[in-house]
Amino acid sequence: MSEIFAKGLVCPLDKNNVDTDQIIPKQFLTSVSRDGFAEALFFDWRYLADGSANPEFVLNEPQYQGASVLLTRANFGCGSSREHAPWAIQQYGFNVVIAESFADIFFNNSINNGMLLISLSAANIDFLFNRCKQGPQQWHIDLANQEILLGNNAAIGFSIDADIKQRLLSGLDFIGASETFSPQIDQYEARRRAAQPWLG
């Protein structure tokens, strides 16, 4: 079975430790909506102080317009728990992020929005960055078979937690899935009340 989770143009962001303050700065966090964050993505890097696009920033380069796969390095998404970070990345148009590693909370937040985050070894990340230097890349992400198809029969395999893979492929509502445990939650609460009444 081959199932393409995503395909598209790759944007290489060659940095380690990209934190959530860089992904979306504080001034965009006062919204009460889940939408409207695309313009805020990488704000301080993407725009100059006068509000114009920073030509030096990779996202603004003409060949990366329309990118849907973000390639970056270690510890991507470190820092705050703001889900605005994956919202901004997704609303900009990325639905796959490939990195050497991710911060835990950012990882969970992204999965909860149906995004695919792929961790690869430093050597494979180097290989992919080198490939990007050869020209714009169009990759297909085959989640079912856990492969990044690079074109011309080249591919890189990746590992992913089985539960997360199943969730992404089935698109399950995770609250709905947990709600089916209502009787068990009731029982847990009753046990807790009996054993540790001070907890409420």
């Binding site: 380690n16 430790n17 934190d19 303050d21 860089q22 700065p25 504080k26 001034q27 966090l29 006062t30 919204s31 009460v32 909506s33 889940r34 301080d44 102080a49 390095r73 270690a74 510890n75 470190c78 820092g79 705050s80 728990s81 703001r82 889900e83 994956p86 590693s101 991710f102 911060a103 835990d104 909370i105 969970n108 937040n109 909860n112 929005n113 937690d161 089985a162 539960d163 199943q166 995770f174 609250i175 899935a177 947990s178 709600e179 445990f181 209502s182 068990q184 939650i185 847990y188 609460e189 807790r192 540790q196 009444p197 001070w198 907890l199 409420g200």
Partner: protein, 470 residues
């Protein structure tokens, strides 16, 4: 084989196995604030769901509130809407809210422990990464995103997988003027900002045992800055003494039973950790960050490192970029570097003990010319206590601004910001680019170090100050 403290608490909260390696865990306390909850409540309404346990959910306003005026309007139109949304959501769902006008309002991670909401053995979550703070009480406490906030509101549970365990042992006795802030910065310096990714870190050792609850909270607070899912310290007599008598602490007939249970919460002697690090606490000196992430840290008497000194090429490149952003040069001594702003506050260092340490350095002195210095107490309780002890007068007499409780300049969501190019000695937790305002340059330090920087207009080693007493 024995179990770690983390494993004991995790297993006692399993409601059921969701699938494969994912369990559904019960959540004992859910803390919410204005910034990461509105979309969660909107999601509930959209799906026709209700808050399952409003009695286990507590709310405050802290992130985008003004610290100058107690008014929803004071921090701008969008902030006001967010604060109003929280008030309306809490009223509709029957959730207790400590709003701006409540005497105990404050930073969520300061008021949770203060009110006794935080207790050993609990699972505590909040839509804020510094929820790790509550691990100081021997609770599994971690930050979650808004989708997870919605999940907890709806079900009082959260799907989780067992994390790996990391033991951080800090041996020996800390030198005078070396604080828990210096310890955690040194640990992050040693392990790196991603050194704890995938792990729950348990702190132990003589240096930890000797810490007060305030100090332990500072330590666990910054566990997230090394990427750890949570920080954890086994509860002991210090923990129980802190909790006794607090508003939500177990009362009368339940107190003894609770303490008996809490005393069972420790890692067994034969428990296996996935990773162990040991740090000699007696060798730690006051720390200052020089770069744009918390692992870029040195002792105050060390020179700013040269990028070439990093064998890892990526770290070398990050150092080069950080030095440019921070306006520093390799080899420079931070004791020669002047500061423009001093911020004493945040969920890391805004508790009474932090303010006492800072006030001890400030007493009888004056903030250096050209330095803007502010103290933002972590909560209404801290503020009142500091005023009663005369600390507020000490700060004000020296030229510090004395503010209302809130997150303030730690993240600059309100109007407390550091201007571009300005250098700030800050007791907060993140020195990321632009964290305190676009182009701001943040140096993370302890409260005593921040106070000393305010008085001298530049970084100084508090241990060398004449007349300093431990």
């Amino acid at each position: 084989m024995g179990q770690t403290l983390y494993q004991k608490i995790y297993q006692s909260h399993v409601v059921g196995a969701l699938n494969g390696s994912t369990d559904l865990l019960f959540v004992d306390r859910h803390l919410i604030h204005e910034v990461t909850s509105p979309q969660a409540f909107a999601g509930l309404r959209q799906a026709g769901r209700k808050v399952r346990r409003p009695d286990l959910t507590f709310a405050t306003m802290d992130h985008n509130t003004s610290t100058q005026v107690r008014s929803y309007d004071a921090a701008g139109e969008t902030s006001r809407k967010q604060l109003e949304a929280l008030a309306a959501n809490c009223a509709e769902s029957g959730i207790e809210l400590l709003d701006l006008y409540h005497p105990d309002q404050g930073i969520v991670h300061v008021i949770g422990p203060e009110l006794g909401l935080t207790q050993p053995g609990m699972i505590i979550v909040c839509g804020d990464s510094h929820t790790s703070t509550h691990g100081a009480f021997g609770a599994i406490a971690f930050g979650i995103g808004t989708s997870e906030v919605e999940h907890v509101l709806a079900t009082q549970t959260l799907p989780q997988q067992v994390a790996k365990t990391l033991k951080v042992e800090v041996t020996g006795t800390l030198s005078p003027f070396v604080t828990p802030k210096d310890v955690i910065l040194a640990v992050i310096g040693a392990l790196g900002t991603a050194g704890g990714n995938g792990y729950v870190a348990e702190f132990c050792g003589d240096a930890i045992k000797g810490m007060t609850m305030e100090g332990r909270m500072t330590l666990c607070n910054m566990s997230i800055e090394m990427g750890a899912k949570a920080g954890l310290i086994a509860p002991d007599a210090t923990t129980f003494a802190y909790l006794e008598g607090r508003r939500f602490a177990p009362k009368a007939e339940h107190w003894d039973a609770a303490v008996a249970y809490w005393q069972s919460l420790y890692s067994d002697a034969d428990a296996q950790f996935d990773k162990v690090v040991c740090i000699d606490g007696s060798q730690i000196k006051p720390q200052v960050t020089w770069g744009t992430n918390p692992e870029q840290v040195i002792a105050i008497d060390q020179p700013v490192p040269a990028p070439e000194s990093f064998t890892d090429l990526i770290k070398a490149d990050a150092a080069r970029r950080a030095l440019t952003y921070m306006g520093l040069e390799a080899g420079q001594k931070l004791t020669d570097v002047s500061v423009d702003v001093v911020f004493i506050g945040s969920c890391t260092n805004s508790r009474i003990e932090d303010l006492r340490a800072a006030a001890a350095v400030v007493a009888g002195k004056t903030v250096a010319a050209g330095v803007r210095a502010l103290v933002v107490p972590g909560s209404g309780q801290v503020k009142r206590q500091a005023e009663a002890e005369g600390l507020a007068d000490t700060f004000k007499a020296a030229g510090f601004e004395w503010r209302e409780p809130g997150c303030s300049m730690c993240l600059g969501m309100n109007d407390d910001r550091v201007d571009a190019g300005q250098r700030c000695a800050s007791t907060s937790n993140r020195n990321f680019e632009g964290r305190q305002g676009r182009g701001s340059r943040t140096h993370l330090v302890s409260p005593a170090m921040a106070a000393a920087a305010a008085i001298h207009g530049k970084f100084v080693d508090v241990a060398t100050l004449t007349g300093a007493s431990a």
